[in-house]
Symmetry: C2
Subunit: 122 residues, 2 copies
């Protein structure tokens, strides 16, 4: 089964322009049919879902491109990719820590505000 760029846009939620931009940046490079139109596959769907996860965890396109390059090079780059994933895992843990720290701080601030509001009513 293949998807045209329009359909792939719908199932991924990415705009057609974004898909073409990602292709220009070599993140995802679909095959072309006899009329030079893009044919995205199920595999492309799996791949873009992972790309989106990398984006959600703040990986810049430059870095995703590095990973994509390895991936398109095939199995012999597995070790290198695994290394990238391990590093990225660390980055996610750090992002989580920052959020948690800020959440704690925010909760204290909200509490202070609430007390202040109460004392104002009295």
């Amino acid at each position: 089964m293949f998807f045209s760029i329009g359909n792939f846009s719908k199932i991924t939620g990415l705009s057609i322009d974004t898909l073409r931009y990602y292709e220009k940046e070599k993140l995802i490079v679909p095959e072309r049919d006899s009329h030079n139109q893009r044919r995205y596959t199920e595999k492309d769907k799996t791949w873009i879902d992972f790309i989106l996860r990398l984006k959600e965890t703040a990986m810049p396109i430059r870095e995703i491109r590095k990973y994509a390059k390895l991936r398109y090079e095939g199995d012999q780059t597995m070790k290198e990719r695994l290394e990238m994933l391990r590093l990225h895992r660390q980055s996610i843990l750090e992002q989580k820590k920052i959020l948690e720290d800020n959440l704690k701080h925010l909760d204290r601030k909200i509490e202070t505000y609430e007390k202040e509001m109460l004392s104002r009513i009295k």
Copy 2:
């Protein structure tokens, strides 16, 4: 005690240009001395630390400006600010959830990769 923009830059870790940019965006507007030079205070330090926390939790400058405006308007805007903080708290929880979900997924992927690597050695 006052800080010149140079000193304030050092203690906040923000560049002088960024501080001036934040002022243009009305995030933090320090007093001026008789020579029109900026005089940042301890309060400004506390305030910018909070701004940085908002930035770390992905609040755009546009939104921080809204909060800053309320804050500069004084105590009567407290309720509104509290409401903003509560909403922002929700946003942090959502960001955390996304990270956690992605971490779980990444961990499974790493495991798969590791198994694949092992089976390759055999």
